[in-house]
C-alpha cells in the first residue's frame, strides 16, 4: 500500500493505492489519526480509486478514522470506491455510516 498526501486549503487528500490488509492497515490508521487528532484538519478525503484490496483490518482503520473525525468535529470523506472496495464495505454493513462521493470535486466542494 502507498499513501500520498496532498493539501488543498484546509483539506487533506490521501491518494491510496495497493492492498490495505493486516500488514498495511496500521499505516493507514496512523496517517488518519495524525491528520485528524493531532493536526485537527477539518476535512480529510481518501481517494480509494487505486485500492486493489481491502480487508476487515482496513475497514477497521476507516472506522477508527471516522470515530476520530466525529470526536474532533471534522469530516472524513471517501471517494473513488471501486467494485472491490464497495463490496467489502457493503458486506460490513457499514457503508451507510461513511460520507462517500463519486469523485474528488464533490469531495472537496464547500
Amino acid at each position: 500500500m502507498k499513501i500520498a498526501a496532498r493539501h488543498l486549503d484546509k483539506i487533506t487528500i490521501f491518494d491510496i493505492s495497493g492492498d490495505i490488509d493486516l500488514a498495511t492497515s496500521p499505516e493507514l490508521r496512523k496517517a488518519l489519526l495524525r491528520e485528524l487528532r493531532e493536526l485537527k484538519m477539518p476535512r480529510v478525503v481518501l481517494n480509494l480509486g487505486a485500492v486493489r484490496y481491502i480487508d476487515s483490518s482496513g475497514v477497521a482503520s476507516l472506522v477508527e478514522g471516522l470515530k476520530a473525525s466525529r470526536d474532533v468535529g471534522s469530516r472524513l470523506i471517501l471517494f473513488g470506491l471501486n467494485r472491490t472496495v464497495r463490496e467489502v464495505l457493503q458486506l460490513s454493513k457499514l457503508v451507510k455510516i461513511f460520507e462517500i462521493y463519486e469523485n474528488e470535486a464533490q469531495s472537496v466542494a464547500p
Binding site: 476487515s56 472506522v63 470515530k67 467489502v88 460490513s92
Partner: protein, 136 residues
C-alpha cells in the same frame, strides 16, 4: 505473504469456474481466516506455520450432487474457542470483529475444530455452474 496467497487463490478459484464476485468472496474469506490465525492463534506472530489444503469436492445440492471448493486451514497455535468466535453485532459501529462476519457471509460452510493439538478451519464454497441448455 498474505498478498501472495490472495493472488494464487484468486487464480485457482477462477480456474475452477467461480464467477468474479465469487472469486473475490473466496479470497476475502481465506485472507480473513489467515489474519485471524495470525492474530488469535499465534498472538500476532506472522511466522507461525499454517497448512492450507484446497480440494474440489462433491456436495449435495437440491437432491443432487454438485461441485464445491473445500479449503482447510490448520495451525499449531493456542486453542481457539469456537463459542467465542461469534463476531460482533454489525450495528455496533467500532473497529474489530468484522473478519468472522466476512468469512461467514462469503462461504457456504464454516466449521471450527481442534484435533491433535491443532486448530482446524474448514471452509466450503459451492460452485454454481450453469446447467446445459439453460441460458447463455
Amino acid at each position: 505473504m498474505l498478498c501472495v496467497v490472495r493472488n494464487a487463490l484468486a487464480e485457482l478459484a477462477a480456474k475452477l469456474g467461480f464467477s468474479e464476485p465469487e472469486c473475490r468472496a473466496v479470497v476475502l474469506a481465506v485472507d480473513e481466516a489467515l489474519t485471524n490465525i495470525i492474530r488469535h492463534a499465534y498472538l500476532g506472530d506472522a511466522e507461525g506455520p499454517i497448512e492450507a489444503t484446497f480440494r474440489r469436492i462433491q456436495v449435495p445440492r437440491d437432491g443432487r450432487s454438485g461441485e464445491a471448493l473445500e479449503i482447510i486451514l490448520e495451525d499449531r497455535g493456542v486453542t481457539v474457542n469456537p463459542k467465542k468466535m461469534c463476531g460482533r453485532a454489525l450495528e455496533d459501529v467500532r473497529p474489530g470483529g468484522l473478519g468472522l462476519h466476512f468469512i461467514r457471509e462469503s462461504m457456504d460452510t464454516v466449521e471450527f475444530s481442534r484435533r491433535w493439538g491443532r486448530n482446524q478451519l474448514r471452509l466450503v464454497k459451492k460452485l454454481h455452474t450453469r446447467e446445459p441448455g439453460k441460458g447463455s
